[in-house]
């Protein structure tokens, strides 16, 4: 197992997921918290700050993937292996439900103080996760503040004009699109857009050929971009000349994936940018 | 074309094959290159064709080196028939013989009437015209050799160098092939053939070069080269001689116990 890849896969897998995790009873304020997941890194750095964190993932320091890179620079990093974690003698370990499974399995057998975060599929789920984690680290007030800020920013989005809402498709690396029932889908709706992924010629499941996305005829094309990411064929698809040419005909928005890869207060900014794109002319 | 060698030496794998060979190949003569296995017959033939660089000495073609002559001019001047010539693809006879015309064709030039005529002459001369539509791989050894000979003849070069052209032929075709080479010389070509059959060599060649011990042991008309002493020294054999219709002939008769012939080399 290669921790580097697992760590990054974490960021990607967290988009989809099931219902919220069951929460353990909150302890007294943990002082040596270790995070094994980028999304946990982001929430923890916002909730408790760097001082009480014994380690975050190496990804948290990467400004291309993380919205808290500056804070993370002050915390040691791990690569998601149990042997890195145990010597830190953590009093709380926060992991993702779908990532670093080998380390989590080992830590569970050792009865380490472990908390697993699920991948919320709605704004309500995001709020619930923030509150739950805040309780677990003994900072319920800061959790409430984060949630309140997030919800108020979402409520403050400019209202959609009357009539049919502009249709939108979110294109991700490898030709994946964000389907209905996802957090991204809800953000689109809140931003006054209509996610038309399910009505694409070939549906919204799996890797789609570009022509299915282009001929879908959405009013707004949102590219889940990480232009400075390490090169990959998956990412190169997002730079395809057909999409460049399409910009002349269709409103196109490039949205950094760090803004909505993880459920956190940063999704408010994603929604704000989406709403701005709705209003913009092509 | 007149080919001259001056103090020619050749080595292979660090071993001297030829040392200090000086000779001249004149037009209009059929020269047999004879000698025991490993004496350097093929090496000498390749040097005469300009296919290899000598270790020392030089080869000139009408007084000029191979580089001065130019690759294409040399190809038009010398036709070379390699030993047991390989044919790597299932070509048809006619297409194979046409390869002999390559030195005459420009980089983009197509096949001309002159090319076709030369191929017809070569096929007729080599008694292979009836094989024109056959795929070379399906021919018998003798048919194949004639087709390859026709390929070399099709170049219509003033010099023809042939490495063991009769080795795979039955006696009838051996005689026909030797007559053909002699006739080519009568018409003015310089013909050099590596031969193992001393009887044929003595009967058909104007001149024999006997290679042995790294040099030309003897060089001249067959009668002066194929002496008992030379044959003993070069091959370690004794021969029987006779006469038929006023022509002398000889037959290798038995191997002599000493000196031992040189070990065979590939």
């Amino acid at each position: 197992m290669r921790p580097t890849r697992l760590g990054l896969a974490a960021a990607l897998l967290l988009i989809a997921g099931g219902p919220a995790a069951a929460w353990e009873a909150p302890r007294a304020k943990p002082q040596r918290i270790v995070s094994l997941n980028l999304c946990a890194d982001e929430l923890l750095l916002r909730l408790v700050g760097p001082e009480r964190l014994a380690a975050v993932t190496w990804l948290a320091r990467d400004p291309r993937a993380s919205t808290v890179a500056a804070l993370a620079a002050r915390v040691p990093v791990n690569h998601g292996t149990a042997e890195e974690i145990l010597p830190l003698n953590p009093d709380l370990i926060v992991a993702g439900r779908y990532t670093t499974r080998v380390a989590v399995g080992l830590l569970t057998r050792l009865e380490a103080p472990l908390l697993e975060l699920d991948v919320p599929q709605s704004v309500a789920g995001v709020a619930e996760q923030i509150r739950g984690l805040a309780r677990a680290v003994g900072e319920p007030d800061r959790g409430e503040a984060l949630v309140a800020d997030l919800l108020s920013r979402l409520d403050a989005l400019p209202p959609a004009a009357p009539g049919p809402r502009p249709t939108a498709v979110v294109l991700r690396p490898n030709g994946f699109v964000a389907g209905s029932g996802s957090l991204v889908d809800e953000l689109l709706t809140r931003a006054g857009l209509e996610n038309m992924a399910d009505r694409l010629p070939l549906g919204s499941q799996g890797a789609l050929p570009l022509e299915a996305i282009i001929l879908g005829g959405a009013d707004v094309l949102i590219v889940d971009a990480a232009p400075d990411a390490p090169p990959s064929l998956a990412g190169a698809l997002l730079l395809h000349p057909a999409l460049r040419a399409m910009k002349r005909q269709v409103r196109t928005l490039s949205l950094p994936s760090r803004l909505w890869t993880c459920p956190g207060p940063q999704i408010a900014e994603a929604a704000e940018r989406l709403a701005a794109a709705r209003e913009a002319r092509p | 074309m007149r080919i001259e060698t001056h103090a020619l030496s050749a080595t292979a794998g660090g071993r001297a094959i030829l040392t200090d060979v000086t000779l001249t190949i004149e037009p209009g003569a059929f020269t047999g290159l004879i000698g025991p296995n490993g004496a350097g017959k093929t090496t000498l033939l390749r040097l005469l064709a300009g296919l290899a660089e000598p270790a020392a000495g030089r080869v000139t073609f009408d007084g000029r080196t191979a580089a001065q002559t130019g690759r294409r001019a040399l190809a038009r001047g010398i036709a070379y028939l390699p030993q047991s010539g390989p044919v790597h693809w299932p070509l048809r006879t006619e297409a194979l013989v046409m390869l002999g015309r390559l030195p005459h064709r420009g980089p983009l030039g197509g096949i001309t009437a002159a090319d076709r005529a030369a191929v017809e002459r070569a096929l007729a001369t080599a008694d292979a015209a009836h094989l024109r539509g056959r795929i070379v791989g399906t021919l018998s050894g003798g048919e194949r050799m004639r087709v390859l000979l026709a390929r070399a003849l099709a170049t219509e070069a003033p010099v023809l160098l042939a490495d063991e052209p009769v080795a795979a032929l039955d006696p009838g075709h051996q005689l026909a092939c030797m007559a053909l080479l002699r006739d080519a010389a009568r018409r003015g070509s310089g013909v050099v053939a590596v031969l193992h059959d001393l009887t044929l060599a003595a009967r058909f060649c104007d001149r024999l070069i006997l290679l042995s011990g790294g040099g030309a042991l003897a060089d001249g008309p067959p009668g002066r080269v194929l002496t008992d002493d030379h044959l003993r020294a070069a091959y370690g054999i004794a021969v029987q001689r006779g006469e038929a219709g006023g022509e002398p002939f000889l037959l290798p008769w038995h191997a002599l116990p000493s000196p031992m012939p040189k070990p065979e080399t590939p």
């Binding site: 490898n174 990412g235 | 790597h88 390869l99």
Partner: protein, 339 residues
Amino acid sequence: MTAAATWESRIPYPALVAGLTGLALALCAVSAAVGYVPFDLGAALSDWLAGRPTLGALVLAELRLPRALLGLLVGFSLGLTGAAMQGWLRNPLAEPGLVGVSSAAALGAVIVFYSGLSAALSLALPLGGMAGAVTAAVLLNLMAARGAGTTALVIGGIAINSLAGSLTALALNLAPNPYAALEIVFWLMGSLADRGTDQLWLVLPPMLAGWALCLSGARALDALTLGEDAAHSLGFDLTGLRVRLIAGAALAVGSAVSVTGAVGFVGLVAPHLMRPLAGARPGRLLLLAGLAGACLTLAADIAVRLMPTRPELKLGVVTALIGAPFLIVLIARLRREEA
């Protein structure tokens, strides 16, 4: 053999070239018409020609046509190079895929792509492919210079292939992104999915140069039928030929692989199919094998889009399904001949 004789006499070479060119262009048109989403090709074409910016025109000009043309170019490159290498090594198994030239080109392209070099300078991508291809071709040349027979050639090819394949896997594993390890399939099997005009223009010049170099060796390859000494005596510079063929193969295969990955077996099957029609003449075979390679690749690329699998099958899967039986038959025949 007898059937081949009648073919050769019945179909003159210019007619063969014209027929295959027509077939390749027709397959190009079919390839542009076949896609995942049905759309009005005629309307898209007239929109595109009239410069009307419709989505149909965009899909035609930026997706369907580049894909079809790249299929043509890549197929031609592989077929032509296969024929040239076979003529040069006088071995019907010499093919860019089997002898490792393609996988070495893939390695070169992978290193350039995932290191970010090609993002800085797009020309670096085909150059990387060419560097890989030329390395393999030179290794092959060294083996051939030692008089390698079929067995040695195949074993050498396996060695180059597996070395290049594992180094490609290593390079992809070291690449700092989560997709890289999944993308090894693209590089090892090849695909034309969602290729674009930028790739088309990038590889067109080196490919054309590579074709010219390979085709310029036609006469010399004919002469090589008789072996090296005879070819030399017919006035051909074999060292020059070797340099031209290695450079030509590297330019054509290196740039092809750098944008589509290593599509296998085209260079084996195309010359094999065309050899009887070319009267087995290696020089004539070049152009015919190139055209046949283009037809095969286009047909395979049409097939992957007609199959109900999604994401689509890699192109190399289909060409291997066609090519592997050819390989088995060829090896059996060669063993008979060598026995």
